[in-house]
């Protein structure tokens, strides 16, 4: 049997131009009165993918999920599942199931009753239902809680019942609405990995809605970042972090420093960017930026080096003053105010226990980074 890691490493149907999407949103728009929740959005999800919709509240991610489940119909555009147009099909006839943010466990039914509910709707024979319920209980490790009512369970147990109930029918797609939102931090981290294992072992397609970027980065094969009802970028976690497609994405996921400037010169490989104060940056990942374009140069704090002297041979280096620092144990975050006034965040790993000549408040300092450490953004 292949290990989980190798399955995930080789899994990239989105890169294959011949692959058929499993779920397609085609120019979907959803309006509630005057408010446009989803605006002319197109998106593909592939079979067996763990897909995350990430965005702040009100970005339209939950609306997308609800349209897929059938609780809301698109105002225009269409949604295809496995080639089938879902328009007009009510939620109770769609081959997708949803795990609700509130879990929505039926309070008057036992754990067993909750899990069996969906199976009973399909008129499955009794013996089969029993077998399936047992299997599900084993899957979420709740065998001894079968006869309990939801209020007799802890938060984590309720979450697992909700999960078991939603996968019991073996849906084509499982929708998860903030599945870990109600759990505390430690439980959340454990559960993330359980969800990933479950998705792999059942071979299901997962679409998860979350506002927690760490959660999305950990679990998902690909992430769609949404803002105001539009897709800003769809990419793997590493791409989203290292090669954000726009200023919004760069700022939304993780910490970032932005330098504003103009492309002064560029060739096939590198570009020279000049800031308003005259500072120059040489970069390698200039993308489609052309000479004269107004651009932002985005660079993550951990890619910036801080030192008390200008490092020898550094291509990009600027001088400033440490005006704030935060010691976090595993690393230290410096806030350096450059001489042109811009504040730059830089984090450095505390690899050794004692640092000679540590930088501290009001020290003069140099920041430096390599040409390939950041990206140029035109949007």
């Amino acid at each position: 049997m292949k290990s989980l890691g190798s399955i995930r490493r080789d899994f990239a149907p989105w890169a294959d131009p011949g692959a058929k999407p499993y779920i397609s949103f085609e120019n979907v728009t959803k309006k509630f009165g005057d408010f446009t929740a989803v605006n002319n959005l197109s998106l593909n999800v592939y079979e067996r993918e763990f897909f995350a919709l990430l965005g702040a509240s009100g970005c339209g991610k939950s609306t997308l999920l609800r349209m897929l489940a059938g609780f809301d119909e698109p105002t225009s555009g269409r949604i295809l599942l496995d080639g089938q147009d879902l328009r007009g099909i009510p939620p109770y006839r769609r081959p997708v199931n949803m795990m609700f943010q509130s879990y929505a466990l039926f309070p008057h039914m036992t754990v067993e009753g909750n899990i069996a509910f969906g199976l009973k709707q399909d008129n499955m024979p009794k013996a089969e239902i029993e077998a399936r319920v047992k299997e599900m209980l084993r899957l979420v490790k709740l065998e001894q809680f079968a006869k309990r009512k939801p209020h007799q369970l802890s938060g984590g147990q309720r979450q697992r019942v909700a999960l078991a109930r939603s996968v019991a029918k073996r849906p084509k797609v499982l929708l998860l609405d903030e599945p870990l939102g109600a759990l505390d931090k430690k439980l959340r981290e454990e559960t993330q990995f359980e969800l990933m294992d479950l998705q792999q072992s059942l071979g299901l397609t997962f679409v998860v809605v979350t506002h927690d970027q760490e959660e999305a980065m950990t679990m998902a094969d690909r992430i769609a970042i949404l803002d105001k009802g539009e897709v800003m970028q769809v990419a793997t976690p590493a791409e989203v972090y290292e090669a954000p497609g726009s200023r919004f994405v760069a700022g939304f996921v993780g910490n970032v420093n932005m330098f504003e400037g103009r492309v002064a010169a560029r060739d096939a490989r590198t570009a020279r960017i000049t800031g308003a104060s005259g500072a120059e940056i040489i970069v390698e990942n200039a993308g489609d930026a052309e000479t004269g374009n107004a651009v932002s140069f985005a660079i993550r704090p951990e890619k910036i080096r801080v030192s008390s002297r200008r490092p020898e041979g550094a291509v990009n280096a600027m001088e400033g003053e440490v005006f704030d620092l935060a010691y976090l144990g595993d690393m230290t975050v410096y806030h350096v105010r450059l001489d042109d006034g811009q504040v730059v965040k830089a984090s450095s790993l505390n690899a050794s226990r004692v640092t000679e000549d540590p930088l501290t408040w009001n020290d003069r300092a140099w920041i430096s980074f390599t040409p390939d450490a950041g990206v140029v953004l035109t949007r």
């Binding site: 080639g83 089938q84 147009d85 007009g88 099909i89 009510p90 006839r93």
Partner: protein, 324 residues
Amino acid sequence: MSEAVIDRENGAVAAAQGRSLAGRAVAAVVSRLVILVPYLWLLFFFLAPFVIVFKISLSQTAIAMPPYDPVLSLADGVSGLLEQLRQLSIDNYVWLTEDALYFNAYVSSVVIAAISTFLTLLVGYPIAYGMARAPASLRPMLLMLVILPFWTSFLIRVYAWIGILKPEGLLNQFLMALNIIDEPLIILNTHTAIFIGIVYSYLPFMILPLYSSLEKMDYSLIEAAKDLGCTPNGAFWKITFPLSLPGVIAGCMLVFIPAVGEFVIPDLLGGSQTLMIGKTLWNEFFANRDWPVSSAVAVILLLILIVPIMIFQSAQARAQEQER
């Protein structure tokens, strides 16, 4: 995917969409029924009767069954109906204004109800306030104790006061035994007895909305007020009372509106001296058998109550909006 598979899938889609269409039609019929059944019931048994009351208030008394004239009917066709409409008159309303008895009854009903409502608020507020500040574990029991009398008959609770308030009743026996008074107090068959009766009977209606608005209040608001230099008394009038106003309004309306039209309390405790409109209407109807005049009395009473009822309704609607 072969063509056959595609065909089957398309067929399944069409079938699913067809079934859902039928399902939606059923759901639409069901939801229409859910609305229509109670709607029609209330139109017929609540609204239509008011129209009839209004119509009869414009008719003449007759010695017949039903004892009024004309009885509207479609038997004579449109011309007959028009003839009947021509016979309608406002004589009964004129009669109401000419006889000071009715005017006095309306005024005294409103005055008695207003005074009783104020007294109920005075008695009910400290109780609701005490309940809201009681230990959380005690509150459900206290709440049940307030509701419990409401489950026992209104008539019985009013009746119980007769034995207490009579000249030779328990209250006078008690006070005379303690030598506080030498002669029995005359309370029964006075306005005082009516005030006691209304306060007593309607107290739970005042306490419940007050309690629910006081209980919701965050006590740290009062601590904040005190921290900012407010005296306990000042904190009550500047913070607690204004925040409990929705409860005060709801409670006062729940007491005032039915109290204006109250019949049992003035009849049993107020004696023959007291004039209240509910009692007047009852007598007009049962003793004098004058249906048109009692209808006119009811219409005027409704007009008097329409403003407080609207206040009550909008307060209810607002509270509902906030719950959402």
